[in-house]
Symmetry: C2
Subunit: 337 residues, 2 copies
DNA sequence: CCTGGTTTCTACAACGTTGTAGTCAACGTT
DNA sequence: AACGTTGACTACAACGTTGTAGAAACCAGG
C-alpha cells in the first residue's frame, strides 16, 4: 500500500539513490532514466517518508505558531496569515494553544527543543526574558511586546504610539472624560501597560490629566470582561464620554453593555478598540480601532524565522516594526461623519 | 548542545537501550540505574528526537485538522476544542487551511499520505466521495455533512432537523414571511442544501408554503455576504418579517444591513443564525442561533480517529451524531421576552 | 549443587532517507 | 594512444530511535 524508495527503484530498475536524486531534482540523470523513475513514482503513488528525510537532514519543514487562544479573533486572523505566508515558503505550520498562562508558555518555549519543529513563532502574553534562557538555540520569533533584553528576533508594532494616536482621536472629537478598559497589574500584562502608557501620555499632552478612576482593569480580554468593566465604570459614577478599550473584543463587550444601559454610541459615549478584527466592521455601531497590518506581521515573522533557520543563528536578535492604521468608524464618528 | 540517547548513556554508564527503556517507562530497570539515567537526562536536558522515533515506530503523534478558514469563528472555535481534545490523548495538531475550494481540499486529502501525520480530521466544504477513493488507508474523520457513501468515519449534526427547529421557532413567534439567506447551487453547498431542506419542510408543515423569492443565495458565508443578501431581499420588495441565515456570520451581516436600513430587529424583522458562535452573545441585538456542541464534536472526532489509528482500520465507517441546541435570544425574542 | 525462571541489562539490526565516495563509460584534448 | 574531465549511476554508511534476541546475574525450590 505504502511504498518506499526501494520499491520505486526496483520497478524502475535503478538504484535507490537514483530515485532519491530524481525526487530531489538532481541534475545529472539521463532523460530516459528520469522518465522511467517518474513513471514508477506515479504508478506506485510514492510519497517520501518525511520522518526519515527529517532524521537524515536534521530538518522537519514544520514550524510552530504558539498563540494564547485560537478563538480570539485577532489570533485566528493572525494564524491564517502565518499559515499562508509559511506555505509560500514551503513550510507547514503546527498550531499550539498556550492558554496564555506563564507556566504553559514556558512549556511551549522549552518544548521547541524536541526536534519536531525547525522553529517557533511565539505570541506570548506572560513570558519574561528569564523564561527564554536555555533554548538550545532553536530559532524563535516573538510577536507583540518586547520581552526585555530578549534573546530572540521580534516583530512588534509601536503600542505606545498607537494607543496615543487613538486617544488623540477621541480628544480631537471633543471628548474630555476618556476612560480606558483593559489595564492589568500582572507581569503578564505587557500590552496592557504599553497601551496604558500611550493613553496616559496622550491625555497629559492634551492637558486633560490622568485619572485612575477612569481606568478599569480586565483580567482577560474577552467580550464578557469588556462588558463587565464597562458596567463597572458606568455604575461607579465617573460618567465617561469616551472609552478606549485595549482590544476589540473588550470594545464589543463594552458596546453591548452601553446598549443595555440605554446609552447611545457615540453620542453619549464614544468607543474605540484595538486590533482591527473583522467583527468590528459589522458591529452595531461599527468599531473605531487600531488595525495592525496582520499580513505584514505574519510575513515578517516567517521571513525572520526562515533567515534564522537557514542562516546565521548567532547573529544578534533583530527587531522589526510592522505598520498599523487608525480606522475611524461609527463608534466614535457616528453614522454620517 | 543537543544530546542523543548515546550521550545520556555514556554519562550514566549504561547502554543506549537502557536509557531508551527508562525514557519509555520499561518496568525492569533497577532503581539506582534508573536514578543515574534520570540524572543524566536532566543534566543534559535530553529530549528525544521525534523524527527518529517516528521513523522507527511508524507513528508521528501528529494529527491534522483541515478546515476551510481559520478566521471564520465557527472553525476557530472548533479548532480550539480539537486541539484541546487531542492534547488530552497526547496528540499534537497540525492545522491546515484549505480555503474551501475543491482542488485544494483534494490536495489536502491526498497529502495525508506523506507520513507526516497519523490521521486527519477534515471539515470539507467541496469534497465529494470520488475525491476520497485512493487514500492509502490513512485514518480520516470527516466533520459536517455526509459525503455520500463516504469511506470514512464521520461526525455530523442533523442539519435538516436543526434547520426545521429554528424555522419552527420563527413560525411560533407568528412570523409569516420567513426568508432564508445562504442558499448555494454548487455541489459544494452540502450544508446549504440540508439547511434549505429543513427550512422548506418546516414552512410546508406550518402551511406557509415555500416561496423561492424569499430565498437569497450567498456564494460564501461571510458577514459581507450576509449584509449583501439582506439588502437584496429588502430591495426586491418581498418584505420578509423574519430571516433564517444559514450561519451566524451571515446573520451578523444581515443584522448590520437591517440596522442601516432603519428596520428594527426583531420588531420588524426577526433574525436567526446557525453555529452558536461567541459573537452572537454580544451583538446588538444578541443572536438567536442553533448551537452545535462543538466540544462534543471535537471529542468524538478525536476519539474516532484514535480508534482508527490504534485499532481496526478495516472496520466499516462509523457515523456519530453530535447534539445541538436552539438558543433563543434577542434577535427573535426581543429584549425582554 | 543443579534446574528453571525471572530480572536486568546489552548488542545488533532495522525504520527510509540522503551525503560521501566511488566506479565506469564516454568524451575531448594533447 | 594516453590523459584528464565530465556525466550517470551505485554501494555504503549514517541520522537517532526501538524491537528482538539473548547474555549474565540472581532467586527459589528441590
Amino acid at each position: 500500500m505504502r511504498h518506499r524508495l526501494k520499491d520505486v527503484a526496483e520497478r524502475a530498475g535503478v538504484s535507490v539513490k537514483t530515485v532519491s536524486n530524481v525526487v530531489n531534482g538532481y541534475a545529472h540523470v539521463r532523460p530516459d532514466t528520469r522518465a522511467r523513475v517518474e513513471e514508477a513514482i506515479t504508478a506506485l503513488n510514492y510519497r517520501p517518508n518525511l520522518s526519515a528525510r527529517n532524521l537524515r537532514k536534521g530538518r522537519t519543514g514544520v514550524i510552530a505558531l504558539a498563540v494564547p487562544e485560537l478563538d480570539i479573533p485577532y489570533f485566528a486572523e493572525l494564524a491564517r496569515h502565518v499559515v499562508s505566508a509559511a506555505a509560500e515558503l514551503g513550510w507547514t505550520v503546527l498550531i499550539d494553544q498556550t492558554g496564555g498562562g506563564r507556566e504553559q508558555e514556558r512549556v511551549v518555549a522549552s518544548g521547541i527543543t524536541d526536534h519536531l519543529i525547525d522553529g517557533l513563532i511565539f505570541s506570548p502574553l506572560a513570558l519574561t526574558a528569564d523564561d527564554l534562557v536555555n533554548l538550545d538555540g532553536t530559532p524563535m520569533v516573538l510577536l507583540g511586546e518586547r520581552v526585555d533584553r530578549g534573546p530572540a528576533d521580534h516583530v512588534v508594532i509601536d503600542n505606545v504610539a498607537a494607543a496615543r494616536e487613538i486617544t488623540n482621536h477621541l480628544v480631537g472629537l471633543g471628548r474630555r472624560r476618556i476612560a480606558a478598559i483593559g489595564s492589568q497589574r500582572t507581569p503578564e500584562g505587557a500590552s496592557a501597560r504599553l497601551r496604558l502608557d500611550g493613553y496616559r501620555s496622550a491625555l497629559v499632552e492634551a492637558g486633560l490629566g490622568y485619572d485612575e478612576a477612569l481606568v478599569a482593569p480586565a483580567p482577560v480580554w474577552h467580550r464578557a470582561d469588556g462588558a463587565a468593566a464597562m458596567r463597572h465604570l458606568l455604575s461607579s459614577g465617573v460618567r465617561p464620554d469616551a472609552v478606549f478599550c485595549f482590544n476589540d473584543t473588550l470594545a464589543l463587550g463594552a458596546l453591548r453593555a452601553l446598549h443595555e444601559t440605554g446609552l447611545r454610541v457615540p453620542e453619549d459615549v464614544a468607543v474605540a478598540g484595538f486590533d482591527g478584527i473583522e467583527d468590528g466592521r459589522f458591529s452595531v455601531p461599527t468599531l473605531t480601532t487600531i488595525a495592525p497590518d496582520k499580513e505584514r506581521i505574519a510575513r515578517l515573522a516567517v521571513e525572520l524565522l526562515a533567515n534564522r533557520i537557514d542562516g546565521d543563528r548567532s547573529a544578534s536578535p533583530r527587531e522589526l516594526a510592522a505598520p498599523y492604521r487608525l480606522e475611524p468608524r461609527e463608534s466614535t464618528q457616528g453614522r454620517h461623519p
